[in-house]
C-alpha cells in the first residue's frame, strides 16, 4: 500500500487522504504488538536528535560524534549499525538533526552543522551508506523534514535564513524559500495538507508556506518573543500547530481561521527545545527544554499549570524526543546530552498532579477566609458554612475514555468560606498600636512610658507592663527618677506605677537596699550609660525625625495629658470590643499558684520570659510565703545590675511575644531598645521579625509606620528595602504620555513639563504646586512669592495658600 503511494502523482491530496486513513487503520492495529519496558542504553557521545523508523523497531541517534541505529527489543536496545564510517569523519557527520523517512524504511536524512544536508540509504551494500550530499546552505542546517507521504521530497531549514526543498532524484534543490528574516529553527510538513509546511524563526515568527510557491509565504505571525525553537502539527487535527520558544512557552495555534489564533498556552520553566504531540491523545503534547531542566513533560494543554506526566530519568538536557509509534501513546523515546538513549513507558511516568496539593487558602478583603480542600477531608466538618455561591468544584474534563491511568487524578475540591466574626476581625488594636507607638526620636525612658501608656489604653495590660519593666531595666536611675514622679503627679492614676509601688510596699526595705545598690552600680556604669544617652541624642539629631514623626503619627500631636483625658473616655467603649487572647492568661492567678509550687516559678523563669519579666511583681507580692523564693530573688537584685544583665530575659520575652503572634511587640521593643538588645538576638531572627511586621503593616496599609520601621531597623537587609525600586514615573503634563527619559522635558511634544510660575525656568528638583489651581514652581520661589502676595504667581487669580 505504501509503495503504491510512492509513485502517486502530485496534486491528488483528496485521494491520498483516503488512502492514508486506510493505512492508519492497519498500522494502528499493528501497534498492539509493541511491547517493552522502561529501559536505556549508553551512547558513546551526546545525542542531538533521534528519530524512529515507521514500524517502530529501530531508532536512529545522531549527534556531533555519534550516528548510530539501535534496534528496539523487548528488554534492551541493540546497536544495529554505525553510520559514522571512515577514518577521519568529516563535519558532514556532525548532525544537528536527523529524520527517518516515514514511508521508505531505508531512507534517512541528516542536517549537518556545517551546512550540509545528507541523505543515507540503508539499502546500500557498502559500509558507507551516504547517498546524497547537498551543500547549498551557507550556514548550519537546523532541521530536515521528509514529506510525510511523498518519498522523494525533503525540506531543510538553515541558520542562513533559507529553506530548501530537495527532490532526492535530482542533484540539487528544486526550490528555495527565503524567510526574509533570521535563521530558520524548525520546518514541519503539515500532516494533513499536502502542500503546506510551517517554518519557525529565530526572531519569533512562524511562517506558513505552500510548497508550490517559493516566492512568498502564505501567512506569517509572531508566535513568541525570541526564537521559536520548534513546531509540530497536530497529527489528527488539521489546523493545530504547537510551537515552543525560548520564552518558555508552548503555544497551540488554530490555523484554520483567517488569523492564527492562540488557543492554548502552556508555561514551562525553561526554554522549550522540542515539542511533540502525543499520538491518539488529542490534548496531549510532550516537551523537553533546551537548558537547565532535564525532564520531559507531557502536558494536557487544557491544564497548563501542571504537567500531566513527567519523565525524570535524564541527567543532562534532553535533546530529542519522539513517540515510538505514530499510533501508540505509551512509548516515548528520548536522547540526551548525558549520552543515554531512553525508552520511557507511560505507565512509569511520574504524575506531578498526585503530589500536588489540592488545598488552597486565601484571605478576603474583609477578613473572610476561603479554604478549598479535597472533599474527603472536608466532609464531616460541622463548622463549615457553605459559600453562598455553592461549593465550587473543578469541572471534570475527561469524557472521552474512561481509562483511569490516562486522566488527571480526579480531584474535586470543596470550597468553604469562613466569614470572620466581629471580634476576630478586629485588628484595630494592631493598627492603633502601630500608629501610636513611638519608636524613636525621644529618650529611651520616655519612649517606654509612652508606649506603655498606649498599650494600657488599648487594654493590653501585659504589654503595658512589659514596657514599664523595660524602662526600669534599661534606664539608668537618673533617667528613671525624672519621668517617674512626673508621671505620677501629672496622672495620678498611672496604673502601673501605682500598682508597682503598692505591690512593693511589703518588701520595702529590701527594695530600698537593692535600689541603693543599683545606684552604686550605676556609678560604675556611668561611662556606659552616658554613652547610651549620647547615642539617644545622636539619634534625635541625625534622624531629625521629631517633626516628621509627629506628622506621621498624627494623633500623637495631642500632648500626653490631653491624650489621656480624651482616651480615657473612649476606653470604656473600646474595652468591650477587645478580647485579646494572649493576655487572657491571668497574671494574678499565676501569682496565687506560685507559692504552692515553687519549682514552677523557676521553670517559668526559664521557659516563659513573660513571667520572668514580671518577676519583680511576683516576688514582691509574696514575700512571706516562701523563704526560698526570697533567697532566689535577693541575689537577683542585690548583686550588680548592669543593663545587659536583663538581656537574656528580654530576649526570651521577645521570642515569646513573637511566637505568640505579636510580632509587633517584638519589633517595637527591638527598635526602642536598639543597641541594648540587638546583639543578643541573631540577625536572621531579627530580620524575620522585621519582615513579618513590615508585611503586616503593609497589609494594613500603614505605609508610614512601615517605612518608619524600615528606617529605624538596624538590619542591613531591612534598611535596604526602601532603597530599591525608587524610580518615580511621571507623565508629561502637556501630552499626558509617560516621560521616559527626563523628568522635565517631554520627548514627544518637546515641551518643558514643569515650568516655574515665578522664574519661568524649568524645575528640575523639588516642584511645589497649588492643589487648587495646579500652578507651581521652585519651592523657594513659590515660598518667597507667597510671602509677599497671596495670589497665584501664574496670574490665574487663585488665592493660593502655602502651609
Amino acid at each position: 500500500m505504501h509503495f503504491g503511494q510512492r509513485e502517486r502523482p502530485r496534486g491528488l491530496p483528496l485521494l491520498f487522504g483516503a488512502m492514508e486513513k486506510m493505512s492508519r487503520v492497519t498500522t494502528a492495529l499493528g501497534s498492539s504488538a509493541i511491547s517493552g519496558r522502561t529501559m536505556f542504553c549508553h551512547l558513546d557521545a551526546p545525542a542531538n536528535a533521534i528519530s524512529v523508523c515507521r514500524d517502530a523497531t529501530q531508532v536512529v541517534v545522531a549527534g556531533r560524534n555519534i550516528f548510530k541505529i539501535y534496534g528496539l527489543e523487548e528488554e534492551q536496545f541493540v546497536e544495529k549499525l554505525n553510520l559514522r564510517v571512515g577514518r577521519k569523519p568529516s563535519l558532514n557527520f556532525s548532525c544537528a538533526d536527523v529524520m527517518w523517512h516515514q514511508m521508505e524504511e531505508n531512507l534517512l536524512a541528516t542536517a549537518a552543522t556545517n551546512g550540509a544536508v545528507v541523505t543515507w540509504n540503508l539499502g546500500k551494500p557498502s559500509r558507507n551508506k551516504q547517498d546524497q550530499l547537498f551543500t547549498e546552505h551557507k550556514r548550519t542546517v537546523n532541521k530536515v523534514c521528509f514529506h510525510p507521504t511523498e518519498v522523494y521530497m525533503l525540506l531543510s531549514g538553515s541558520q542562513d535564513g533559507y529553506m530548501k526543498c530537495f527532490d532526492l532524484r535530482k542533484k540539487e534543490s528544486v526550490s528555495t524559500f527565503s524567510g526574509q528574516s533570521e535563521s530558520v529553527r524548525d520546518v514541519q510538513f503539515s500532516m494533513k495538507d499536502y502542500f503546506t509546511f510551517a517554518a519557525s524563526f529565530e526572531n519569533g515568527n512562524v511562517q506558513l508556506w505552500d510548497i508550490r510557491r517559493p516566492d512568498r509565504y502564505e501567512r506569517m505571525f509572531t508566535a513568541h518573543t525570541g526564537p521559536v525553537f520548534c513546531c509540530d502539527w497536530h497529527p489528527d487535527d488539521r489546523g493545530w500547530l504547537a510551537t515552543g520558544g525560548r520564552d518558555k512557552m508552548v503555544k497551540v495555534w488554530d490555523m484554520t481561521t483567517n488569523r492564527a489564533k492562540e488557543i492554548y498556552c502552556v508555561q514551562t520553566i525553561a526554554s522549550v527545545a522540542r515539542v511533540k504531540w502525543r499520538p491518539e491523545r488529542k490534548w496531549h503534547l510532550a516537551t523537553c527544554s533546551m537548558m537547565v531542566d532535564h525532564n520531559i513533560y507531557v502536558w494536557d494543554v487544557r491544564r497548563p499549570f501542571i504537567p500531566f506526566a513527567t519523565f525524570e530519568e535524564h541527567k543532562d538536557v534532553t535533546t530529542g524526543i519522539v513517540w515510538r509509534h505514530q499510533h501508540d501513546p505509551y512509548f516515548l523515546l528520548s536522547g540526551s546530552k548525558d549520552s543515554t538513549l531512553y525508552q520511557h513507558m507511560f505507565k512509569d511516568a511520574s504524575r506531578p498532579v498526585d503530589r500536588a496539593n489540592p488545598e488552597g487558602l486565601c484571605f478576603g478583603l474583609f477578613g473572610d477566609l476561603a479554604f478549598a480542600a479535597k472533599e474527603s477531608l472536608i466532609s464531616g466538618d460541622t463548622n463549615r458554612k457553605p459559600y453562598p455561591g455553592g461549593d465550587r468544584r473543578y469541572p471534570i474534563f475527561f469524557f472521552k475514555k474512561p481509562d483511569l491511568t490516562e486522566q488527571f487524578a480526579h480531584v474535586s475540591s470543596a470550597l468553604s468560606v469562613f466569614e470572620s466574626s466581629l471580634e476576630s476581625r478586629c485588628m484595630d488594636w494592631f493598627v492603633k498600636t502601630a500608629r501610636l507607638y513611638l519608636l524613636g526620636g525621644k529618650p529611651f525612658a520616655e519612649l517606654c512610658d509612652h508606649n506603655a501608656k498606649v498599650a494600657k489604653e488599648l487594654n493590653r495590660p501585659q504589654v503595658s507592663t512589659t514596657w514599664t519593666m523595660l524602662r526600669l531595666m534599661f534606664s539608668d536611675p537618673a533617667n528613671l527618677s525624672t519621668p517617674g514622679p512626673n508621671n505620677i503627679s501629672k496622672l495620678g492614676n498611672l496604673p502601673l506605677m501605682n500598682s508597682f509601688s503598692m505591690k512593693e510596699m511589703g518588701t520595702e526595705s529590701r527594695l530600698d537596699r537593692s535600689k541603693g545598690e543599683i545606684r552604686q552600680d550605676s556609678i560604675h556604669l556611668e561611662p556606659g550609660n552616658s554613652l547610651i544617652n549620647s547615642n539617644n541624642d545622636e539619634n534625635e539629631e541625625t534622624e531629625g525625625s521629631e517633626g516628621q514623626a509627629e506628622y506621621m503619627f498624627g494623633d500623637a500631636e495631642l500632648d500626653d495629658d490631653d491624650l489621656y483625658s480624651i482616651e480615657l473616655e473612649n476606653q470604656a467603649a473600646e474595652e468591650q470590643e477587645y478580647t485579646l487572647p494572649q493576655e487572657a492568661f491571668p497574671l494574678r492567678h499565676e501569682i496565687m499558684d506560685n507559692p504552692s509550687v515553687p519549682e514552677h516559678l523557676q521553670q517559668d523563669k526559664a521557659d516563659s520570659p513573660h513571667a520572668s519579666g514580671n518577676e519583680a511583681e511576683v516576688m514582691c507580692l509574696t514575700p512571706t510565703e516562701s523563704f526560698s523564693l526570697i533567697a532566689i530573688s535577693q541575689p537577683l537584685f542585690s548583686t550588680h545590675l548592669p543593663a545587659h544583665f536583663f538581656c537574656p530575659v528580654v530576649r526570651e520575652m521577645l521570642s515569646h511575644y513573637a511566637e505568640q503572634g505579636d510580632v509587633q511587640m517584638a519589633v517595637s521593643v527591638l527598635i526602642v531598645l536598639g543597641d541594648r538588645i540587638r546583639k543578643e538576638i541573631d540577625d536572621l531572627t531579627q530580620e524575620h521579625w522585621y519582615m513579618s511586621y513590615i508585611d503586616l503593616l503593609q497589609r494594613f496599609e500603614l505605609w508610614n509606620v512601615s517605612n518608619e520601621v524600615i528606617k529605624l531597623s538596624t538590619c542591613s537587609a531591612i534598611t535596604c528595602l526602601n532603597q530599591t525600586s525608587t524610580t518615580l514615573h511621571v507623565n508629561c503634563s502637556n501630552c499626558k504620555r509617560p516621560m521616559s527619559n527626563r523628568g522635565w522635558i517631554c520627548d514627544r511634544c518637546h515641551q518643558c513639563a514643569s515650568v516655574c510660575a515665578v522664574c519661568h525656568h524649568v524645575v528640575k528638583g523639588l516642584f511645589v504646586w497649588c492643589q487648587g489651581c495646579s500652578h507651581g514652581g521652585h519651592l523657594e520661589h513659590v515660598m518667597n512669592w507667597l510671602k509677599s502676595s497671596s495670589h497665584c504667581p501664574a496670574g490665574c487669580g487663585h488665592l493660593c495658600e502655602y502651609t
Partner: protein, 490 residues
C-alpha cells in the same frame, strides 16, 4: 570629592608631578610657559580619544539629533557623559543599547549590592590595567558607600570577592581553561560562597569590563577631566608621546593632516582591493568546494596563526603599582594555547551557543539581562551602514562575520559552517595585529597600530570595528563562563 583628595595624595607619594609625567617637546614647553604659576586643573588629552580628532567626535553629536538625545539621557541618568559614550556616539543605535545594559547592570535591581558591582568592575578593568575604567568606578564605588579599604587591593576586600580573583584572571586571559571546578570552588565556600544568581551577575560584569577595557584602549579613550587622580594611574602610553600628540591634532592639526594626506595617496586602492576580494569570495563560493579536511585545517591554521601574530612589538610593561594592587599575579596574561602544548578541545558554537544556551541560562538566573545582552550582541553584529570608506551600498556582512569569527577563533571557538579561509582573504596583517592586541592584551595598543590598519577608513568605521571586537570578545568569554556554569549545574 573624597577620592579626589586621596588621589592627590598618591600623586605626592609617588612624587609625580604633571610635568614629570610628560616629556614635553620644546614647542609645547614654550606654549605652556605662559601658564606658569596658575594652577588650573586641565584636561590632559583634548577630546575623548587620543586617536580620533576631537572635532570629528563633537560634530557627530551636533549633527545627529538622535545621538544628541541619547547623550542628554545619559547625562541625566549618570550626571556625567563619559568619553566612552562620546566616542560611541558615532553609532547611536548601539550606544543606546549599550547604555541601557550598563545602566541595568550597575544601577537596577540585581543580586549583587551596588558597591560589589563597582568593585567587580574595578577588578575586571584592573586586569587589563585600564586606569580609565578603574578611576571611573573607584569614584562610583565610593559614592555608593563602598569601603575605601577595599581599594588598597584585593586583600582588603571580603573573602568572597577575593575568591572571584581567580575567575577574573582566567576569564580575562585564558577563558578556555575555565572548568566546573572553578565554579564549584566559588559556589561551595561555606559562608563566603556565591549564589548562582550572584555569580552570573559577576560573570556578566567581569566580561563586560574586560571587553570594555579593550574598547577603551582600542579607541585610545582619554581620562575624564574630573578624575584627575586618574592621571597618576599609569597614563596610557604617555611615555611615548608628547602632549601635542595627545592633543590629537587640535593643537597643530596642519602637521597631522599633511601626514595624513601623504598616507592616503600611498595606500589608495586598499579599500578597492578589499572590496574586490569580497566580491570574488561571494562569487566563487559556489564553485570552489573545499573538502572537509581542508576546512578543518583552515580553522586550525587560522587559530595557530592568530597566535603567531605578534601582539606587541613593545617591551613587557610592568603595570604601575596603583592599578596592579587591584589584582594579583600580574604575570598571568594571554597565552596562546596551541603553542603551550596544552591541548584544549575546540569549542564548537553549534554545541553551546549564546542564542540557545547562554541566553536561557542568563535569563533564568538574572532576569532581563539575557535579553539586554542579546539585543546588544545582535546590534553590534548586525550594525551596518552599507558603506566602506568612500564607497556606498556595500554589503559588509561578510567582512563583519570574518572579524567576529576571527576573534572567536582566537579563543578557540569554532563555527562549523564557516570557511576560515575567508579570514585570510579579508583581514590583512596589520589589522590582525590590531585585533589581536586589542583583544588579548589591550593595554599594549598604540596609536600607531590604530592608524596603520585600514588607513582609508573613517574614524567612525574604526570605532565600529572596535565595537565588534568588544562584543565578540565579551561573547566569547561569556560562552566559556556559562558553559562552565552549565556543566556545574548538570
Amino acid at each position: 570629592m573624597k577620592h579626589a583628595t586621596a588621589a592627590t595624595e598618591t600623586i605626592e607619594n609617588n612624587s609625580f608631578t604633571v610635568t614629570d609625567l610628560f616629556k614635553i617637546c620644546t614647542h609645547c614647553e614654550r606654549l605652556s610657559k605662559k601658564d606658569l604659576g596658575v594652577r588650573i586643573p586641565r584636561s590632559l588629552g583634548n577630546g575623548p580619544s587620543r586617536f580620533i580628532p576631537e572635532k570629528e567626535i563633537l560634530q557627530v553629536s551636533k549633527v545627529d539629533p538622535r545621538t544628541q538625545s541619547i547623550f542628554e539621557d545619559a547625562f541625566a541618568a549618570l550626571g556625567r557623559l563619559d568619553n566612552i559614550s562620546l566616542v560611541m556616539g558615532f553609532h547611536p543605535q548601539y550606544l543606546e543599547s549599550f547604555l541601557r545594559t550598563q545602566h541595568y547592570l550597575l544601577q537596577m535591581d540585581g543580586p549583587l549590592s551596588l558597591h560589589y558591582r563597582h568593585y567587580i568592575g574595578i577588578m575586571a578593568a584592573a586586569r587589563h590595567q585600564c586606569s580609565y575604567l578603574v578611576n571611573l568606578h573607584v569614584n562610583d564605588f565610593l559614592q555608593v558607600g563602598g569601603d575605601s579599604k577595599w581599594l588598597n587591593g584585593l586583600d582588603g576586600a571580603p573573602q568572597k570577592l577575593q575568591a572571584l580573583g581567580e575567575l577574573n584572571k582566567i576569564l580575562a586571559h585564558r577563558p578556555w581553561l575555565l572548568t566546573k571546578a572553578h565554579i564549584e570552588h566559588l559556589l561551595k565556600a561555606e559562608e563566603h560562597s556565591w549564589s548562582l544568581a550572584e555569580l552570573i551577575h559577576a560573570v556578566v560584569l567581569l566580561t563586560n569590563y574586560h571587553s570594555l577595557a579593550s574598547f577603551t584602549f582600542g579607541c585610545g579613550i582619554t581620562p575624564e577631566i574630573h578624575s584627575n587622580g586618574g592621571h597618576t594611574f599609569r597614563p596610557p602610553s604617555l611615555s611615548q608621546y608628547c602632549v601635542c600628540d595627545i592633543a590629537n591634532g587640535n593643537g597643530h592639526g596642519h602637521l597631522e593632516e599633511r601626514r595624513g594626506n601623504h598616507q592616503v595617496s600611498e595606500v589608495s586602492g586598499e579599500v578597492e582591493v578589499l572590496m574586490e576580494r569580497m566580491k570574488q569570495l561571494q562569487e566563487c563560493r559556489d564553485e570552489e568546494e573545499a573538502s572537509q579536511e581542508e576546512m578543518a585545517t583552515r580553522f586550525e591554521r587560522e587559530k595557530t596563526e592568530s597566535m603567531l601574530v605578534a601582539t606587541a612589538e613593545d617591551e613587557e610593561c610592568v603595570p604601575s603599582r596603583d592599578v596592579s594592587r587591584h589584582f594579583e599575579d600580574p604575570s598571568y596574561g594571554y597565552k596562546d594555547f596551541s603553542r603551550r602544548g596544552e591541548h584544549v578541545p575546540t569549542f564548537r558554537v553549534q554545541d553551546y551557543s549564546w542564542e540557545d544556551h547562554g541566553y536561557s541560562l542568563v535569563n533564568r538566573l538574572y532576569p532581563d539581562v539575557g535579553q539586554l545582552l542579546d539585543e546588544k550582541f545582535q546590534m553590534a553584529y548586525n550594525l551596518t551602514y552599507n558603506t566602506m570608506a568612500m564607497h556606498k551600498d556595500v554589503d559588509t556582512s561578510m567582512l563583519r562575520r570574518a572579524i567576529w569569527n576571527y576573534i572567536h577563533c582566537m579563543f578557540g571557538i569554532r563555527y562549523d559552517d564557516y570557511d576560515y579561509g575567508e579570514i585570510n582573504q579579508l583581514l590583512d596583517r596589520s589589522f590582525k595585529v590590531y585585533i589581536k592586541t586589542m583583544v588579548c592584551s589591550p593595554e599594549k595598543t598604540t596609536k600607531r597600530m590604530y592608524e596603520s590598519f585600514w588607513r582609508q577608513f573613517q574614524h567612525s568605521e574604526k570605532v565600529h570595528v572596535n565595537l565588534l571586537l568588544m562584543e565578540a570578545r565579551m561573547q566569547a568569554e561569556l560562552l566559556y563562563a556559562l558553559r562552565a556554569i552549565t556543566r556545574y549545574m548538570t
